[in-house]
């Protein structure tokens, strides 16, 4: 309480300002309490119960004991890891490459930028259906254009346990324009004087890229890495639509949030689903903190102390 007394401003003007602050942010604050904090606490409690919307029974850590013995839990973790830890680096590298290309003086620049960004606008169900059709093993476009001329039978993509996750990588790469635009903006913020100076010193194009471009946009790379990772670990819509909510074939595309959704809303195991949700939350927090820590010496910030 004494802390509050010390923290609360003394002058009338400052008190009015503090009051105004809380009034301005009240929509978010109320929303946070009702739609974030309360659900978080409730979810933590549900994770210790057996709950099917009607009856709730407290069971302690039983859900977590079930979880460590659940094959599908490990399967979904593995599927998500495969999708994320290959898909995200692949996407980020390609996005950076495209951004570097689109930062050159080429004809019809704004036209190309528009085209590359287009797939990021039409995300969701339509894109999932489109790729389910393009990657159709028999009648689809990709196998016809790439594997047919080589005389090899193309992969069965969404219908193959081996190829279903690579199919989602391809789908993700098609929408790389969203990340690309962020890099493009980052590249345009690098002072040209640095490149000119390096050129006078005789630095090659590769050297300029790795010694100037990469360090200068390293905060942007970190930002996209963290946000894409958090986003990709929660992949749901595409997989739900393509696999008709089954995560098939043989659970080979059972991503984590899909498994959680099935537990919660198909099998009404709300307690178990909540336990799964908390495990995901912990994974995301740990990974984010690890990345922020690991990047401390790798990321260059221009403003001191930032």
């Amino acid at each position: 309480m004494s802390f509050l007394a010390r923290a609360w401003p003394r002058t009338k003007l400052a008190r009015r300002e503090a009051l105004a602050f809380y009034l301005f942010i009240s929509p978010w604050l109320l929303g946070f309490l009702a739609f974030t904090l309360y659900p978080m606490l409730a979810s933590a409690y549900y994770s210790l119960t057996v709950y099917n919307v009607v009856d709730m029974k407290f069971v302690g850590i039983q859900n977590f004991q079930t979880l460590v013995a659940d094959d599908l839990f490990y399967k979904s973790l593995w599927v998500t890891a495969k999708y994320t830890f290959v898909g995200v680096p692949l996407g980020i590298t390609l996005a950076l490459a495209v951004a570097v290309l689109l930062n050159q003086k080429v004809p019809f620049l704004s036209f190309w930028r528009t085209i590359y960004y287009l797939p990021s606008v039409i995300t969701g169900v339509a894109v999932a259906l489109l790729w389910k059709w393009v990657l159709n093993p028999q009648y689809g476009l990709l196998n016809y254009l790439i594997f047919e001329p080589l005389g090899i039978e193309g992969p069965r993509w969404f219908w193959s346990e081996t190829w279903v996750i690579p199919a989602y990588w391809i789908m993700g790469l098609w929408g790389v324009g969203g990340t690309m635009v962020i890099y493009l903006a980052g590249l345009q913020n690098v002072p040209t004087a640095l490149y000119e100076a390096a050129e006078i010193d005789g630095a090659s194009a590769w050297q300029r890229f790795f010694k100037i471009t990469i360090p200068m946009i390293s905060p942007v790379i970190l930002f996209t890495l963290v946000t894409n990772l958090i986003y990709t670990l929660q992949v749901f819509t595409q997989v739900y639509v393509v696999s008709d909510g089954m995560g098939g074939p043989s659970y080979a595309s059972l991503v984590y949030v899909l498994y959680l959704f099935l537990n919660g809303f198909r099998w009404f195991r709300l307690g178990y689903a909540s336990a799964l949700a908390w495990v995901l939350f912990v994974i995301i927090v740990v990974l984010t903190l690890l990345m922020l820590r690991a990047s401390r010496n790798l990321v260059y910030y221009e403003t001191p102390g930032a």
Binding site: L4, A7, P9, E17, A18, A20, F21, Y22, F24, I25, P27, W28, G31, F32, A34, F35, T36, P39, S43, Y46, V98, L101, Q104, K105, V106, R113, T114, Y116, Y117, L118, I122, T123, G124, V125, A126, A128, L129, L130, W131, W133, Q138, Y139, G140, L141, W174, G178, V181, I182, Y183, G186, V220, I230, Q234, T237, Y240, V241, L270, A277, W278, F281
Partner: protein
């Protein structure tokens, strides 16, 4: 000592001079890079556009031509004619180095029989290898009508629902984010830094964590409380309320974006307004709000895009067909129709994304601006 350094510096210079003149010239290298970049960009652009074109072309085919092999980029189909009361297929036949469109009477590897459809008395004999099915470009625009009017998935209703949802969400989020951001960017109060860290922290929170309790809250607790207080029989399951109401409480990501923009507006504007007698609310409404059109447009577009495509939320809360948004309706279409009618699914997908794409091309400038705001300041 000084001489040694001078000598060692001379070596690379001499080397540079020894390089071939053409490659050594900066202009030439720049030209090569530019051509190479253009070629790569064009290839990448094609990779992006080909699936879209394929989607469009598929949407104009028929159930049969969709699965014809090899896949055809253009919606084409074979033709048949009536000759002497018999239905015969048309073939492109090579005869004496000339290609003729003929009707096939009998196909045989050695000796196929063809007649001229305009003059059936003209008969030609040739091995079947000389003949290919004659295909005509035939765009089935009626696929769009069939999809749109398919009774089990009323796309008109879906589009209306999605439009209302997206517009309400944009209105709620833009208004709230602008207000909240002003507080975080401009006003001093104890606890502000803590609350701001909390706001950033919520961005890490998976939707999966809050999904289940929010569902229980909206479908059980809130109706129970309301009905207990008001003696009513309100039900929130299978309504849009649980999806729309939270939009008026802001979104952490968008608040962060707008706040970053507000931080860039010089504080002198606020001070001047304050001296002229404006309160905090007036300063926001009259000074800050008019200046923040670019960032609010960007936020509106991001929000519109997100809610137009939103699938998970509606999937959980809504069940009656007439309440569904485009995303869920589109996903349900193939099951409702039976089988996988890819031509109609592509038509439906194009209908669903068309409004977004039109808006994208109309407001292209603001789209990129939105991403720039969101990416760099982060």
């Amino acid at each position: 000592m000084a001489k040694e350094i001078a000598a060692s510096q001379k070596v690379p210079r001499a080397k540079a001079r020894a390089r071939p003149r053409l490659w050594g010239s900066k202009k030439f290298r720049q030209r090569v890079t530019q051509v190479l970049a253009t070629v790569l960009i064009a290839i990448g652009g094609a990779v992006i556009l080909v699936p879209v074109f394929w989607m469009f072309s598929t949407s104009l085919k028929t159930q049969n031509t969709v699965v014809s092999l090899p896949p055809d980029f253009i919606p084409r189909q074979s033709q048949s004619v009536e000759v002497n009361g018999r239905k015969l297929y048309l073939y492109d036949v090579d005869i004496d180095g000339e290609t003729k469109v003929l009707a096939a009477v009998k196909l045989d590897p050695e000796k196929s029989e063809f007649v001229d459809p305009n003059d059936p008395s003209q008969v030609y004999y040739t091995p079947a290898s000389q003949a290919r099915k004659h295909k005509m470009v035939w765009a089935h625009w009626e696929n769009y009508v069939e999809t749109w009017t398919f009774a089990t998935t009323p796309f008109g209703t879906f589009m209306k629902n999605t439009t209302i949802y997206a517009l309400v969400a944009v209105f709620g989020e833009v208004l709230t984010c602008s207000l909240v951001s002003y507080g975080f960017a401009r006003l001093r109060a104890p606890g502000k830094n803590f609350l701001f860290m909390l706001l950033l922290g919520t961005m890490m929170l998976p939707w999966a964590v809050t999904m289940i309790p929010s569902y229980v809250l909206f479908t059980r607790y809130i109706p129970d409380i309301l009905n207990g207080l008001l003696d009513t029989k309100i039900k929130l399951a299978d309504t849009w309320w649980p999806l729309m109401v939270p939009k008026f409480f802001g979104s952490a990501y968008l608040i962060f974006l707008v706040r970053q923009f507000y931080m860039g507006i010089p504080k002198d504007y606020d001070d001047a307004a304050r001296i002229d007698g404006c309160g905090f609310f007036q300063t926001w409404a009259r000074i800050i709000l008019p200046m923040s059109r670019p960032v609010l447009t960007a936020v509106a577009i991001l929000s519109f895009m997100y809610h137009w495509n939103d699938y998970g939320g509606p999937l959980i809360y809504l069940s009656s067909t007439e309440k569904l948004p485009l995303s869920v309706g589109l996903a349900n279409f193939s099951e409702a129709y039976g089988g996988t009618p890819y031509h109609l699914m592509m038509a439906a997908s194009l209908i669903a994304v068309a409004p977004l794409v039109i808006i994208f091309f109309a407001l292209n400038r603001y789209f990129v601006q939105g991403v720039v705001v969101s990416g760099i300041k982060g």
